[in-house]
Amino acid sequence: MNAIATPQAPPQPPSHEPSYLAVENTVRSWLLTTDHKRIGILYMISITLFFLVGGAAATLMRLNLLTPQGALVTSTTYNKLFTIHGVIMVWFFLIPSVPTVIGNFVLPMMLGARDVAFPRLNLASWYLFIGGGAFALWAIIAGGVDTGWTFYTPYSSTYANGHVIAMATGIFIAGFGSIATGLNFIVTVHKMRAPGLTWHRLPLFVWSMYSTSVILVLATPVLAITLVLMALERAFGIGIFDPAIGGDPLLFQHLFWFYSHPAVYIMILPGMGVVSEIIACFSRKAVFGYYFVAYSSVAIAVLGFVVWGHHMFVSSQSIYAGMVFSILSFLVSIPSAIKVFNWTATLYRGSIWFQTPFLYVLGFIGLFTIGGLTGLFLAALAVDVHLTDTYFVIAHFHYIMVGGMVMAYLGGLHYWWPKISGRMYPELLAKLSALFIFAGFNLTFFPQFILGYLGMPRRYHAYAPEFQVLNVLSTAGASILAIGYFLPLAYFLWSLRYGKVAGPNPWQATGLEWTTESPPPEHNFTVVPIVTEPPYAYDPVAAEEALAAKREQREPAYVR
């Protein structure tokens, strides 16, 4: 009988070293660690806290929108809330989420490496992130900012009250953390691959992290420059963007979206990588069209830099520029479509094992497909004119970023949790909360597509009465979603102590990270793994045979 999966390298001999969690447990040892796994945990804790802040802001907004008059908070407060929500969720949760938590933890192990290329720089990235976060939180506590996460000038530079510069400084500092992480990952992938691990044997998660890192390194400096220019205009009245002092009213948007469109891909590519790993493992089959999935990540990273103008179809950019950005935006959606089709084809003739990570992936595919397809509406010029700056856009990007990236992040957390903690999470509860999240998400955001088509503009503290029903539905959905998010938080913590011991490879997966112990020893591998196999050497036929054999012995499937 064949193995149901051939790992990329033989399993590691027992290490006799304490695990990375047990090595030393002082606060100092955590705060000064250069271990990529511990840094991943530091990020996990910090972005969870930021998620709670951003989520609290969203909750208040949704409550306020229960009535057309926006009775709960004043318009000033409401405007601050959506700014907090956007800034925190984009820069302090979504952009770091998969890369800095799962990427930090798993990427070096997938490569068979002991750590990232620059472990101390890695720790410095976290401190930059925390430093930036501190500025942002200070700006919020000191009175807030009401510019929206987009900081459009001349509103942000001349007219807005509040701590715009402090907030921008926070993003600026955290941005350098992103750049350093990106650089670190690029060098790690180039230089630290185990013997035999050629580029085309890399797991697809590595390809997507690599593409993401390229974007992080190339795009983030543009954001930094843009924010500095905005702060210069605000602080010293240097006319750059405000026409009243000689600036150009459209320049800011060009610069901002030149960063922020690629940033959209920073917020989805890593999730796509997670999906590829999970879908292969739980359908016991190699990802269909490896090369297409791998190179589509690269294509997305490259094309993503030339479509920023699709955010500006009604901004007064020339109609010919609009045409060029429109066709390019249609083209950039093709690599994403290719990925979805390949994932679907991966399921065909597989041996599908319904575990929580896989449920999240199913959610991802459905929601990302809707998010991506509604993106076509926004790339189609004439339709975008009606839909842009309405709730349709809000729904569209939440389907991508929450329906896509957050689903992938949670799926990844469940998938690698046994590796991270050495314990299993409670499966039934986890499945239940995945369902809650899926249902709550759709109820929250689907009505917003309709609201947008009906013409409800975004960033409205109060709205016309005919929009109320759909807003109430959306708020109801948000409360289900909130419960769905709290459950994993609770049972992950619970499992740290009470979860079943996982063993090195509870999913019988093929990646190098599964050849070592759970939780891994400080240096990951006792002997340098020598890679002999392509990724995803799963065999659905063998998996079925193994299952049948176990059934005969009246044993549960696989290792459970």
């Binding site: 926006g70 000033t76 405007n79 009401d146 929206g148 459009y152 001349p154 509103y155 007219y159 009243a244 009213p249 269909f288 297409f292 179809f313 009604v314 901004s315 007064s316 045409m323 249609f330 959606s333 093709i334 479509a337 290719i338 089709f341 679907t344 399921l347 065909y348 003739r349 597989g350 041996s351 599908i352 199913l362 595919i365 459905g366 809707i370 397809l373 076509l376 509406f377 790339a379 189609a380 004439a382 339709v383 004119v385 009606h386 700056d389 309405t390 009906l454 013409g455 503009p457 975004r458 409205y460 503290h461 709205y463 016309a464 065999d539 659905p540 036929v541 998996a543 079925e544 299952l547």
Partner: protein
């Protein structure tokens, strides 16, 4: 039930362009619906059929290339077709017809100031005649705003220091929301009002029922005298300044050797930032700046006047 549907899913369609946009929207909806349902159906069928322990055929490897080519090429063709369709409607949206009535719109935190060619002013309300194409000439006094009329399916940012235009032909009488769609601060969600599309007789009544006596052109002519423009640009001026008769819409040679078309933006900038472009053959320090002395609405009136100046010398037509 149908009433409910109408309110929820079928917003009013009150401009000619709205039909074209909706056709495209529903076209996309059907197409994307088919794709989405197709993907979801495939995923669900595969999940059920190939679930662990089912007795279906399993296979580790499949041929990929033919499928990859199919599912890259088909979307490519569809997308190009969509692009062309949407681009054509967009093009139509962007080019106002010559017979459009020009209405001036100035946005400021947080109100819309409207002026009709007759000189009649409104705030946060625009009265329109059915079936008459309208072109809004728009600018902002402070931050970026956006004129959005969902029932017309059109939207356009309104920028400080720059003119933008938005046009439509209302085809259905009624009252429609006017929203500001670009976030502009505290009162953003209050910065709106109504567009009233009226039948000819009602519109005539609305027009008659006015105390305004001075049209845009007349107001511009008055300002032209009062602000001293005429002293330099008028027919009897002794200073060396270019005559403004008939310049609108025609090329102007600049001191830099470049040639520009004298459009609204050019005249606006000539008045508020005269140093920006100097007409070839004229002194560069004579024309004073009116920045801070003339409001955007007055500049628009002056432009209305200059537009109306015939190509023959002098005089208001």
């Amino acid at each position: 039930m149908t009433a409910l549907l109408a309110v929820w899913f079928l917003p009013e369609r009150a401009s000619d362009i709205a039909r074209e946009v909706d056709a495209l929207f529903y076209g996309l909806l059907v197409l994307c619906g088919i794709i989405a349902i197709g993907v979801c159906a495939a995923v669900i069928v595969f999940c059920l059929r190939y679930r662990q322990g089912s007795n279906a055929t399993r296979q580790a490897e499949q041929k990929t290339i033919p499928l990859e080519i199919t599912w890259s090429a088909i979307p490519l063709v569809i997308f190009i077709a969509l692009f062309i369709w949407a681009g054509a409607v967009y093009f139509h949206m962007s080019k106002p017809p010559d017979n459009a009535t020009e209405i001036h719109v100035v946005g400021k935190q947080w109100m819309w100031k409207i002026q009709h060619p007759t000189g009649r002013r409104e705030i946060n309300e625009i009265h329109l005649l059915i079936n008459q194409p309208v072109k809004l000439l728009m600018t902002s006094q402070d931050v970026i705003h956006d004129v959005f009329v969902p029932a017309f399916r059109t939207k356009q940012d309104v920028l400080p220091g720059r003119y933008t235009i938005e046009w439509f032909t209302p085809i259905k009488t009624g009252d429609y929301h006017l929203f500001c769609a670009e976030y502009c601060g505290d009162g953003h969600s209050r910065m709106g009002g109504w567009v009233h599309v009226m039948a000819p007789d009602a519109y005539a009544k609305w027009l008659a029922d006015t105390s305004t006596t001075e049209s845009v052109v007349a107001a511009g002519a008055r300002l032209f005298q009062a602000r001293g423009c005429a002293g330099c640009h008028g027919p009897n001026a002794t200073v060396h300044a270019p005559p403004l008769n008939g310049i609108f819409g025609h090329p102007v040679a600049l001191s830099t050797g470049k040639t520009v078309i004298a459009d609204e933006q050019y005249i606006h900038d000539s008045i508020l930032q005269p140093k920006k472009d100097i007409v070839a053959g004229y002194p560069d320090n004579l024309m004073p700046t009116y920045q801070g002395q003339l409001g955007e609405e007055e500049v628009m009136e002056l432009i209305g006047y200059i537009k109306a100046l015939g190509s023959t010398s002098g005089g208001v037509p």
